[in-house]
């Protein structure tokens, strides 16, 4: 029989360390599908984050480089400036991109570096055990906000797409959600656009992917998908921001 849906070539045939129902596995597959479709595997260099996706290089069958926590876009800037013919993208969580790496994110975007970023917003620090992230929702319970995030004490959820949309160097921003099969297909389309933009030298492109972290949210995989669809999108509305 003919294979209608199968593992993309860029995704190694290995078991992942992700929790059941985690969005990272889906997002990483989408990245691979886009790279295969564009035929750019040979010239791709990914910059991996610190966070649950730290070992993405074990799963991706193309060149990868590991950056210190939050510094992926600084490392990517260096790689791309030295080798402008390569396709360079970063893959980062919210703790990485929007907490410790906020300065690198804002300045790389503001410089309009010709890079692509896949930003996984799961509203929590997954790897370290579920502490509050800058993107944690108000009233969301985490290990460090056991009574729920309080704006008076912990401030408001950081909206990365909204924030970056005012910067002239930014070419493309879209927020998508891994909340259903349809949402996953839309996420792939956004990643495709962000990657094509770099090939066409359009400047900085970022896709923010709302992604389930069932274990740290204290939910089943299905409940997490539901919560993402019903609650998370109220704080982080989906759509094109630039």
């Amino acid at each position: 029989m003919k294979k209608a849906f199968t593992r993309p070539k860029s995704l190694r045939d290995v078991e992942t360390h992700y929790c059941p129902g985690c969005g990272h596995g889906v997002a990483q597959r989408l990245v691979c599908e886009v790279i295969d479709q564009l035929g750019i595997r040979g010239k791709t260099i990914a910059v991996c984050p610190v966070g649950c996706a730290v070992v993405a290089y074990d799963y991706w069958n193309f060149d990868c480089c590991e950056a210190a926590h939050g510094r992926a876009l600084a490392v990517a800037t260096g790689i791309k400036r030295v080798q402008p013919d390569k396709f360079v993208f970063t893959y980062q969580g919210d703790g990485d991109l929007a907490a410790i790496g906020t300065a690198e994110t804002v300045h790389t975007a503001n410089r309009g570096e010709n890079l692509s970023t896949v930003f996984i917003n799961n509203a929590i620090y997954g790897m370290t055990g579920g502490q509050m992230a800058p993107t944690t929702l108000l009233n969301q319970k985490t290990a460090t906000t056991p009574l729920g995030r309080d704006a008076q004490r912990e401030g408001y959820p950081l909206k990365v797409c909204e924030l970056l949309s005012r910067l002239p160097g930014v070419a493309f921003l879209e927020r998508v959600a891994l909340d259903s099969a349809g949402g996953i297909i839309k996420a792939k389309r956004a990643i495709h656009q962000a990657f094509v933009n770099q090939l066409e030298k359009k400047g900085f492109s970022l896709v923010e992917i709302l992604s389930p972290c069932p274990v740290c949210w204290g939910k089943s995989a299905l409940q997490a998908q539901q919560w993402l669809k019903e609650e998370m999108v109220k704080t982080f509305p989906l759509g094109r921001y630039k």
Partner: protein, 68 residues
Amino acid sequence: MAETKINRERCKGCQLCVAVCPQGLIVLDKSLNKRGAQPVYFKGGKCTACGLCFQVCPECCIEVFNNE
């Protein structure tokens, strides 16, 4: 004719595919796999090769085949 193949040992039992299959063709297994998860299996039936189970699987351990 279409069918779905699920890698039993890779499955972590998140069950997103069980919920998404419009035909209800993916069900939970009674026994555990080697990693200790309760995997799912394709029970056969009128699979349309829509690929929704493939889309939602975080382990990418589902393959969908189509004859047409």
